[in-house]
């Protein structure tokens, strides 16, 4: 065995930081690890699990340009075309916004757990009855409840206006309606949003609706 020409001295501080040797082998590794952890968090926590109603054919449906008089993409704002949709009805059928084209539509988002919705329902039914002779319809969109829950609600309050089931919440999302129910949208016969009613719709709101849009 031969003696090395210059034996190394022991490293008294072995955990000393590594010197910079270029972007790839130093910062690149850190960036890669942060990226991998970030992707992992996104995959497990934020990724859409794909369980939407689109697969069943229900949900938000593209609005044909010919049916959009605003020339702007549909949005849940006054003056914009209402996001189009097709949803199941509690009796197993289907209905969509397009079915009511040519009528004023009071699109009412509701749920049976929502107290103000329960308070509002009799008023809406009475109003729908009173406007039966006019080109007007109340369309109730139930937010994420079962057909039996919606049917029980309709039976309790003796509702006869059409109801649809937004089972996966996709239409509620398109209309930016959260837990703060009820929310109602008045749509023109051309499908443009005329007015947004946040919260329980009042008798005054309905009177004004008649005066401004239906009485003429």
């Amino acid at each position: 065995m031969t003696e090395p020409s210059s034996p190394a001295l022991p490293d008294e501080r072995p955990q000393r930081r590594r010197e910079y040797t270029g972007p790839g082998s130093t910062l690149g590794l850190a960036a890669l690890i942060i990226l991998v952890v970030g992707l992992g968090v996104w995959f497990f926590e934020f990724r859409d699990d794909g369980a939407s109603g689109a697969a069943s054919g229900y949900g938000v449906v593209a609005l044909a340009p010919a049916d959009n008089p605003t020339g702007k993409p549909p949005a849940a704002e006054e003056g914009r075309a209402a996001p189009n949709f097709r949803l199941a009805t509690p009796d197993g059928g289907a209905a969509g916004l397009a079915d009511y084209r040519g009528k004023f539509v009071l699109l009412n988002f509701w749920a049976s757990w929502c107290g103000p919705c329960r308070a509002e329902a009799p008023e809406l039914q009475a109003f729908a009855d009173a406007q039966r002779s006019r080109p007007f319809v109340v369309l109730g969109v139930n937010q994420q409840e079962s057909a039996s829950d919606a049917t029980a609600f309709a039976r309790d309050f003796d509702l006869s206006y059409p109801l649809v089931l937004d089972r996966d919440g996709g239409v509620s999302q398109a209309y930016r309606v959260g837990r703060g129910l009820p929310v109602s949208f008045l749509l023109s016969p051309e499908g443009v949003i005329l007015k947004v009613y946040i919260g329980q719709i009042s008798r005054d709101d309905l009177d004004r609706l008649v005066k401004d849009y239906l009485a003429g």
């Binding site: 065995m1 490293d11 955990q15 590594r18 049976s112 308070a119 937010q143 994420q144 309790d156 309050f157």
Partner: protein, 567 residues
């Protein structure tokens, strides 16, 4: 000599301003890390000392503006500047979150930068040192003993050193011995723990969920999240249960729940300490309420116009408990007397308010004739004092425990009760100007709850469970019954597991670092003398340990004065 052409370096690097090198040096600098952590701690202190915008107001510009106006009382003209700097919303500012992002990057870079040197140090330690090291090492010893290099090897192995004879010359043999090499990873483990702690905190902050809400029995399933969507959860309270032991002490609260996500349903039972788990969320029992009433109102056509639960929400009213006995000793009335109206008095405050009610009871046992007396009470001298009015009689003020005789009846003021009471707006049939009615839920003499409603009809309504009462306006009121309700807490903390692992890693890492220091030892064994030099981090008396090894080898010249003294 051949001329070599060196590649042109980027201008920044040539000028000594390589930004990546600068970033590397900065992020791997312990002082910079301390500055970051110190700044974050200071910012946290600022967030604690200064008032912070309440969460629900944050997204409401009008509410936020009103809140800031209130702050002007304390901070005057600096309010706007402080708000601009985010001092009133520290934990949600871009600079605060950016600071933590930088800390995470710095800790990550720091941890990674130490991994490869640590690995190299453990896997490929320096085994051969120059002879001069035996004369200058900080920890060293020299002594003479018998047995030569074999004896030294045997001793080191007996002390669980890994020994390697690395070099031999005619004059000397060189050994490298090592113990607890793996403990070098302890510091790395501590760094990793810090990183995991930050990742866990971030996950908790941005992905964690915690909401508590009240659910009543016999009400539809309520959504958990603000936003609808396929991930929305619905929770229904099937049964809220308050268990009591034979002495009446409450021993158990639990809620039977039904949790739904899409078409999937999980049924489970939640208690305070034993949550049920559904769809990755933990659901705890957080509270119990039994002051909730179910009220249903139909109009004259039978259509439901009101169907809801009345959550009294701990609101109550103090009322007297009266007992009326006839001359023959039979009890005609024995229960709380609900309040029917309030005389507001002269003062705008409530100090001279007088509560009004009517005491009605059968004139004799089993009789359909009813005796009526007006009753009023008010708080005076911290006591609820009562007066009973009868035609032709002077009202006499009673204190708790007192009684009066009136028309052959003995009316005893037995005590004060607190009964659930709430004002219900937009009550169908309400005759008040604001369309509100007052609802109280006392219990009758058998302990059964009933609803007492005033403000909906010319007469007050007494609603017994399940027995509809139709008022003069045609509305029919049905008291479903008293239902129970639970405060339900839905939680999810994906960062929790990281934090537990981080805490464990930190404890193990610090324990290894401080209590199991790595020992590296270089030995030169000559014919008559053995020299040892070594490194043992965080071990101040390693030289003494080497000398004691010499003593164990039989050397008489190994020890120094005091070596055998144990501190």
């Amino acid at each position: 000599m051949t001329a070599t052409v060196r590649p042109a370096e980027p201008a920044l690097r040539a000028a000594g301003l390589d930004p990546l090198r600068f970033a590397w040096n900065l992020l791997t600098n312990v002082k910079f890390a301390l500055v970051l952590v110190g700044t974050a701690a200071f910012a946290g202190l600022v967030g604690v000392v200064f008032p912070q915008v309440p969460g629900p107001m944050r997204a409401n510009p009008a509410a936020r503006s009103a809140w800031l106006q209130l702050r002007e009382q304390d901070y005057g003209r600096f309010t706007g500047t402080l708000d601009y700097l985010g001092i009133f919303d520290v934990f949600h500012t871009a600079w605060f979150n950016g600071l933590w992002a930088l800390i995470i990057v710095a800790v990550t870079v720091c941890t990674i930068s130490r991994f490869r040197p640590t690995l190299r140090s453990v896997q490929s330690p320096t085994k051969v040192v120059g002879d001069a090291y035996f004369d200058h090492a900080h920890h060293r010893a020299a002594f003479s003993h018998a047995g030569g290099v074999d004896a030294v090897e045997d001793l080191l192995r007996s002390r669980r050193f890994r020994v390697e004879r690395v070099r031999e010359t005619p004059e000397a043999a060189y050994l490298f011995a090592e113990r607890f090499a793996w403990s070098q990873y302890g510091t790395f483990l501590s760094h990793l723990a810090l990183l995991l702690l930050l990742v866990g905190a971030l996950l908790t902050r941005f992905v964690g969920f915690d909401r508590t809400f009240v659910l009543a029995e016999a009400t539809p399933a309520a959504p958990v999240f603000d936003s609808p969507g396929p991930g929305q959860l619905f929770v229904r309270l099937v049964d809220a249960y308050r268990g009591k032991d034979t002495s009446g002490n409450i021993v158990d609260f639990h809620s039977d729940l039904e949790v739904r996500k899409g078409d999937r349903v999980v049924t489970c039972t939640a208690t305070v300490n034993d949550p049920c788990t559904a769809f990755g969320y933990k659901i705890h029992q957080a509270a119990f309420f039994n002051d909730v009433a179910r009220l249903r109102i139909t109009d004259s056509t039978g259509r439901v116009v009101y169907d809801n639960v009345l959550d009294f929400d701990s609101q109550s009213v103090a009322v007297p408990i009266l007992r009326v006995t006839a001359a023959d000793g039979s009890v005609l009335f024995d229960q709380s007397l609900p309040q029917m109206d309030t005389d507001p008095g002269q003062s705008p405050g409530r100090e001279d308010d007088v509560a009004l009610s009517a005491l009605s009871f059968p004139s004799s046992p089993g009789s359909t004739d009813v005796a009526n007396y007006g009753v009023a009470w008010r708080v005076r001298d911290n006591e609820l004092k009562l007066a009973v009015n009868a035609p032709g009689a002077t009202p006499e003020e009673l204190k708790v425990g007192q009684a009066l005789a009136l028309n052959g009846y003995r009316i005893e003021y037995r005590g004060v009760d607190s009964i659930p009471a709430i004002r219900v707006n937009d009550m169908p049939g309400a005759i008040t100007d604001d369309h509100a009615a007052a609802v109280q839920m006392p219990v009758d003499r058998d302990g059964k709850p009933y609803l007492f409603v005033y403000g909906v009809d010319e007469d007050n309504l007494v609603l017994q469970p399940g027995r509809p009462v139709t008022g003069s306006h045609g509305f029919t009121y049905t008291f479903g019954d008293r239902v129970e309700a639970s405060g339900i807490s839905v939680k999810r903390d994906p960062g929790g597991m990281f934090i537990w692992i981080a805490v464990g890693a930190a404890i193990v890492g610090l324990a290894i670092t401080f209590y199991i220091p790595r020992r590296r030892l270089w030995v030169k064994v000559e014919a008559g003398r053995t020299m040892m030099a070594g490194v043992a981090e965080r071990t101040t008396r390693f030289s003494r340990e080497l000398r004691l090894m010499g003593q164990a080898l039989g050397a008489e010249d190994a020890l120094l004065p005091g070596d055998l003294f144990e501190p």
